[in-house]
């Protein structure tokens, strides 16, 4: 009597039913995620585009191998009266076939690998043209926040990297502490910031918008909370933003903010610079500090440990990307300031918001927090 090929059909139907489940999950989860598949520029598109090639090759191999496996188990499972199988020890032709075919497939993938690798390599950064200018940025990894310095504009900011659309952004990657990794899934894959190494990368953003950046190398206690935004704006918006950034901080006019300024000078200015408040030549000094080795160390009196806050009010993220800068909730007259304004929460309890961070601020009264919020949010 001939045995049926699949004695228990229902099981396979149930198994097949499980497969679409994962694709539904895939679609449902990704809406607000920094997915590597929602690309907004050619570098990320080139990198993530390979995903589909690999996925399809993998799916074919997966179905083939798991198919043979499941078929063999179903078909050759021991049944009563089954004779002992033929004792086959090997077959040279078959061995060669299944050595050569995977080799060919793998070398096809290797071709795409090396081609893609060269496409996005630092040495293949496109030359600047009128249509696609080049903007140079130095990304500095701190524990645990990002500082961005625009050497051609003498501007330093933190947590938000603002760049024009359709420009080549050349990023110098610098760290003088531990290793971090610069990753903006929508725009470019990772390159590490290795102390003592002058790593570089480039990317182009083709769509305006805000994209999440993430530190991807384990860098200590608050590695999980070291994010930044890349804000891609039109070329004109970038120019006007840049001209604001190049100006000194405005002096506050209302009394609350003026009190906040005094408080800032006493309590915060040893770590945080505000150009126009600090008499030091902030940019030059800071550049020396970050130009280690050989430069001054971070944390020495001239060098400031925390982010420069000159145009704090214009930023979208604070505290190393943990909190949104929700300025609309931070009107100092807001009766629920401490509950609603993220800056106030941060000033009230920095160790509660981000345990282990270096913010060494004494206990502040609610009035003092109100004054500081008024001052800092006013720094547009």
């Amino acid at each position: 009597m001939r045995m049926p090929v699949f004695p228990r059909t229902k099981r396979w139907i149930a198994l097949l039913g499980c497969l679409p489940l994962f694709s539904i999950l895939f679609a449902a989860c990704g809406e607000n995620s920094p997915s590597i598949l929602n690309t907004a520029g050619p570098v990320a598109a080139s990198e993530s585009g390979l995903f589909w090639i690999i996925l399809w090759i993998s799916v074919v191999i997966f179905i083939l191998v798991e198919g043979i496996l499941i078929f063999s188990i179903a078909r050759y499972r021991e049944r009563p009266g089954m004779p002992n199988p033929f004792q086959r020890h090997g077959n040279m032709t078959l061995e060669l076939i299944w050595t050569v075919i995977p080799t060919l497939v793998l070398f096809v993938i290797l071709f795409f690998t090396i081609r893609g690798l060269l496409q996005v390599a630092p040495e293949n950064e496109p030359a600047p043209t009128a249509a696609q200018p080049r903007i140079e940025v130095t990304a500095i990894g701190h524990q645990w926040w990002w500082e961005f310095h625009y050497p051609n504009y003498n501007v330093t900011t933190a947590d938000t990297l603002e760049v024009p659309v359709n420009a080549t952004i050349h990023v110098n990657l610098f760290s003088n502490n531990v290793i971090h990794s610069f990753w903006v899934p929508a725009l470019t894959g990772k390159t590490d910031l290795v102390p003592g190494h002058e790593n570089k990368k480039w990317f182009v953003a083709e769509k305006e918008g805000t994209y999440l950046g993430i530190c991807a190398e384990y860098c200590g206690t608050q590695h999980a909370n070291m994010r930044f935004n890349v804000k891609v704006v039109s070329s004109d918006a970038f120019k006007s933003w840049m001209s604001t950034q190049q100006q000194a901080a405005v002096s506050p006019t209302d009394s609350l903010a003026q009190k906040g300024q005094e408080l800032f000078k006493n309590q915060c200015a040893s770590c945080h610079g505000i150009v126009g408040v600090n008499v030091k030549q902030y940019y030059d000094t800071q550049k020396e500090c970050t130009d280690a080795p050989g430069g001054k160390a971070n944390g020495t009196p001239e060098c400031q440990l925390g982010p420069n806050l000159t145009h704090f009010g214009s930023r979208s993220l604070i505290a190393g990307g943990v909190l949104d800068n929700n300025a609309d909730k931070c009107n100092p007259n807001n009766p629920n300031l401490l509950q609603e304004c993220n800056l106030a929460k941060w000033l009230k309890d920095p160790q509660g918001v981000k345990p282990g961070n270096d913010m060494a601020i004494g206990e502040l009264t609610n009035d003092q927090i109100q004054q500081l919020v008024a001052y800092l949010e006013g720094l547009k």
Binding site: S35, S48, P85, P102, G196, H197, Y218, G220
Partner: protein
């Protein structure tokens, strides 16, 4: 006149009963033993104990990450837990358990009476236990290693010229000294395997006739011997940096943080194959027995293992594609990584051909072995994806990599370890494990592991970095993380089922007889459990399946088979 009765631990004299020596008491016998079988069991039990410890650490990780903004663990504690999870599983679970199988089974398979250096064998075991306890004891003073199992400098430095958070307390020292101790243990174990395999084989058991498990243990031993010095050197240099004022990894003084990564991965990548090759060996033993066929392509499987061994020393920088190596170097490591995938693929096809047209008996060991093939395939495919360098820039250090290593090490090695325990349990004890409960254990584990680790691919693609103690609620990672945490609990239930089965079968298990699986290799050609001397007479080997030849002389392999 004293007479000694063999097998009874008392010495009877004509004048009376002498007090038992310590080494003759039950506890004393375990502590002083140099018998490879007892040591093998001790390795296995120790390894399993640390598997439970590492599993608890994994459950803590998954509890913290089950919901966004988790508050179960502080970041400081979480970082210790994830570091110790990786370290425990790799150094204290997988290596000891695989060495345990090797210790117990290899001399029996080869027809030897013990390992070549029995005392060194015992030394290696006790050093392992010491090293393991030393490392875990760091939790008692709240300073467990917290730099990741990869311990990258300069985060693992004491301090450096700049004000930043490194590792000022003893956390990293526990790791560095602990792995050095474990390294010495592994070196002694590996030397012992190499000499045993080269010198103590039964008459007729040529290298070309050794069971594939012995082949893989041999390759693993060579890998350990050549890879571990790199880790030891790296660790000693870091200890010098930390305590003697040297600057090997400090860029401000002419050192280089990348030196650590090169040294570490020169060890770390062969290490990955150290963890998987013996698993390949276990699978290559179980599949033929439960398919009633010889292994298909013995020579290809053996030599592909050797090829993997050699190539594994040329691929280390594929862990470092994001550190900014020159493009030409990245292309080289992409190519070598492509090459190492070939022998791995060859093995999978040979296993499929082994079960194809066989007579498959689906007992628990076979179920785990087949599960190994199904899951390891996924680990191979997503591993090949990681070798595509530009794509790797996007997914390295994301949860995609976590999915990859767990499909290889849990879907691969851990399933093979369970397969091996179900397979050789009758050999260890003379009793069978409960097959029904074993099958439950398999299906629960299979479900749990896919529920835990498959969503991690998607998390990685959705941009979730690894080694984070928490994540915000608005990035679309919540459901996947919850799924993974539920899966981890299910794996935990599976492990409890296994423990119940193990203890129950130890006490009430059905007697298995000497050869319950109708197996092919020499370890079954003696009593179960074997006597101290293993074989009354050393067997003579005439083919790759000596015990099959003995049981079925009319079909014996040596009559018909040409050995390539």
């Amino acid at each position: 006149m004293a007479t000694r009765t063999i097998g009874e631990h008392t010495t009877v004299t004509t004048t009376g009963v002498r007090r038992k020596r310590f080494s003759e008491s039950y506890i004393g016998e375990w502590i002083t033993t140099t018998d490879h079988k007892q040591l093998g069991l001790m390795y296995l039990i120790t390894g399993f104990f640390f598997f439970v410890v590492g599993g608890m650490e994994a459950l803590l990780i998954r509890t913290q990450l089950a919901l966004p903004d988790g508050k179960v663990l502080s970041p400081q504690v979480y970082n210790q837990i994830f570091t110790m999870h990786g370290t425990t599983m790799i150094f204290l679970f997988v290596i000891p358990v695989l060495s345990g199988f090797g210790n117990y089974v290899v001399p029996l398979m080869l027809g030897a009476r013990d390992m070549a250096y029995p005392r060194m064998n015992a030394f290696g075991f006790w050093l392992l236990l010491l090293g393991g306890i030393f490392m875990q004891s760091s939790f008692l003073i709240g300073q467990a290693p917290n730099g990741g199992w990869f311990m990258y400098a300069p985060l693992s430095e004491l301090v450096a010229g700049h004000a930043f958070e490194a590792t000022p307390h003893m956390n990293a020292d526990f790791w560095l000294l602990g792995t050095t101790l474990l390294g010495i243990s592994s070196i002694t174990g590996s030397l012992n395997f190499v000499v045993t395999i080269f010198k103590l084989r039964a008459p007729g058991m040529s290298i070309n006739r050794m069971p594939l498990f012995s082949w893989m243990i041999l390759v693993m031993s060579f890998l350990l011997l050549f890879a571990l010095p790199s880790l030891t050197v790296a660790s000693v240099l870091l200890l010098l940096d930390r305590h003697m004022g040297s600057h090997f990894y400090q860029y401000g003084n002419g050192g280089d943080p990348l030196l650590w990564q090169h040294l570490f991965w020169s060890f770390g990548h062969p290490e990955v194959y150290i963890l998987i090759l013996p698993a390949f060996g276990i699978i290559s033993e179980i599949l033929p027995v439960f398919s009633r066929k010889p292994i298909f392509g013995y020579t290809f499987i053996a030599w592909s293992g050797v090829a993997i061994g050699f190539l594994s020393f040329t691929v280390w920088a594929h862990h470092m594609f994001a550190v900014g190596l020159p493009s030409i170097a990245q292309a080289f490591f992409a190519t070598s990584t492509t090459l190492i995938a070939i022998p791995t693929a060859v093995k999978i096809f040979n296993w499929l051909a082994t079960i194809f047209q066989g007579k498959i008996r689906l007992y628990t060991p076979m179920l785990f072995a087949l599960g190994f093939i199904a899951m390891f395939l996924i680990g191979g495919l997503n591993g090949a994806a990681l070798a595509v360098v530009p794509f790797d820039y996007q997914i390295t250090d994301s949860y995609f990599v976590v999915a990859h290593i767990h499909y290889v090490l849990f879907g691969g090695t851990a399933l093979a370890v369970f397969a091996g325990i179900y397979y050789w349990f009758p050999k260890f004890t003379g009793k069978l494990m409960d097959d029904r409960l074993g099958k439950w254990h398999f299906w629960v584990t299979f479900l749990g592991l896919n529920l835990t680790f498959f969503p991690m691919h998607i998390m990685g693609i959705l941009g979730m970095p690894r080694r984070v103690y928490t994540y915000p609620a608005n990035l679309g990672w919540n459901d996947l993380n919850l799924m993974a945490s539920i899966g981890a609990l299910i794996i935990g239930v599976g492990v409890i089922m296994f423990m119940i089965n193990f203890i129950k079968s130890l006490k009430y298990g059905q007697p298995s007889g000497d050869d319950p699986w109708d197996a092919f290799t020499l370890e079954w050609d003696t009593t179960s459990p074997p006597k101290k001397y293993n074989f009354l007479e050393i067997p003579v080997v005439r083919s790759r399946r000596p015990f099959y030849d003995k049981k079925y002389p009319e079909h014996a392999d040596w009559k018909s088979v040409v050995e390539h």
